[in-house]
């Protein structure tokens, strides 16, 4: 009896702490953390001017704690880190990513110094461009969707959205590195090998993408089963 009464006398504190939701009204704009990207008014086209005006008026979603205004903030790499993250261990995932980029840079610089002067210009040393290009090479163009028609389900070739393609590329990279490599190698080592292979359109991930394309091409007769 006393305990229940004491519960009523305690000051009220919210038992939930406020986090950034993922459900916002569609008119909420995404936050833009880059502070140096402000272009002077004269250089903007009329559509961009409209966008800027919209930003001053409409509400904006709360920024994530991983969004920084630094020059090193890359949304693609942040997304990849989040996908690699396990049990919320962001520190470990970020550490692996930085080590991966460092390893890529080391390998490329070594290659650069070992190659003759004629071939040196072709070697890409910037790990960020290597990552972006490798991811582009891993993205599938057409996917397969399961469509039921007449009691039987068919694999129908279907165009994919940009988000879906990016997700598939990242997922394939991560699962490939986790499952199909030697267990004694570190994740950053496996990732760097796979990324460098994907950069030159070789390796298992690009092979998987090609397999998907081949399946889609084999099932091209069922393309009309789509209704969207």
């Amino acid at each position: 009896m006393a305990a229940s009464v004491r519960h009523l006398l305690k000051p009220w504190t919210p038992s939930l702490c406020l986090m950034r939701w993922s459900r916002y009204n569609p008119y909420y704009l995404d936050p833009d953390p880059s502070k140096d990207a402000r272009v002077p008014e004269s250089e903007l086209s009329p559509e961009e001017k409209e966008l800027q005006e919209l930003k001053t008026v409409s509400p904006i979603k709360a920024a994530l704690s991983s969004d920084t205004s630094s020059a090193f903030n890359d949304p693609l790499i942040s997304k990849f880190i989040n996908m690699m993250m396990h049990d919320g261990n962001k520190i470990l995932a970020r550490g692996i990513m930085t080590q991966t980029l460092e390893t890529i840079k080391r390998k490329q610089v070594e290659k650069y110094h070992k190659s003759p002067a004629a071939k040196r210009e072709e070697i890409e040393c910037n790990p960020y461009t290597v990552f972006h290009q490798a991811l582009e090479n891993c993205k599938p163009i057409i996917g397969l969707a399961s469509v039921q028609k007449g009691g039987k389900s068919y694999q129908v070739p279907v165009p994919l959205t940009d988000n879906r393609r990016r997700f598939l590329a990242m997922k394939w990279l991560i699962t490939e590195c986790r499952d199909n490599k030697h267990r004694r190698t570190h994740m950053y080592e496996k990732l760097s090998q796979e990324l460098l292979a994907a950069f030159t359109n070789e390796g298992n991930v690009v092979k998987r993408k090609h397999d998907l394309h081949k399946m889609a091409e084999a099932n091209r007769a069922y393309a009309h089963y789509r209704w969207w």
């Binding site: 163009i141 090609h210 091409e217 393309a223």
Partner: protein, 130 residues
Amino acid sequence: MFITGAVYIRHYRKAMSGSVIQEKVAKLLSRQSGKPVLRPIKPLALKNEVASRKLKKGEATCVTEMSLLMACWKQNDFNNTVCSKEVSVFYTCVEKAQNKAKAKQGTQGRLLPKEANTLLKRFPNQSSEI
């Protein structure tokens, strides 16, 4: 007070419409002239909900571009750099189709059943006078 013709008619209709409907309904339910026309199970009142519409089945979009792309792939052993033109054409077609589908959803003058239901939930029909 001078009322214009159209406004006068609207005024007249608005004042008359409620009671006219009630009289007609009473006539249909009455047992005075033989069996009643209506024998309602549920009360004759509007629900605060709209029935959802059947989704119209469209057709597959961008099939021609897809087939061109696949033909290019077959010729060049799935090399995307060689087929880059077909790929970009396919992407533009897909984007156009997506924009068209989005634009088509909300227009044609009527509210979507989902939107109507949200509005009705917030502003329901008055079943009794306050």
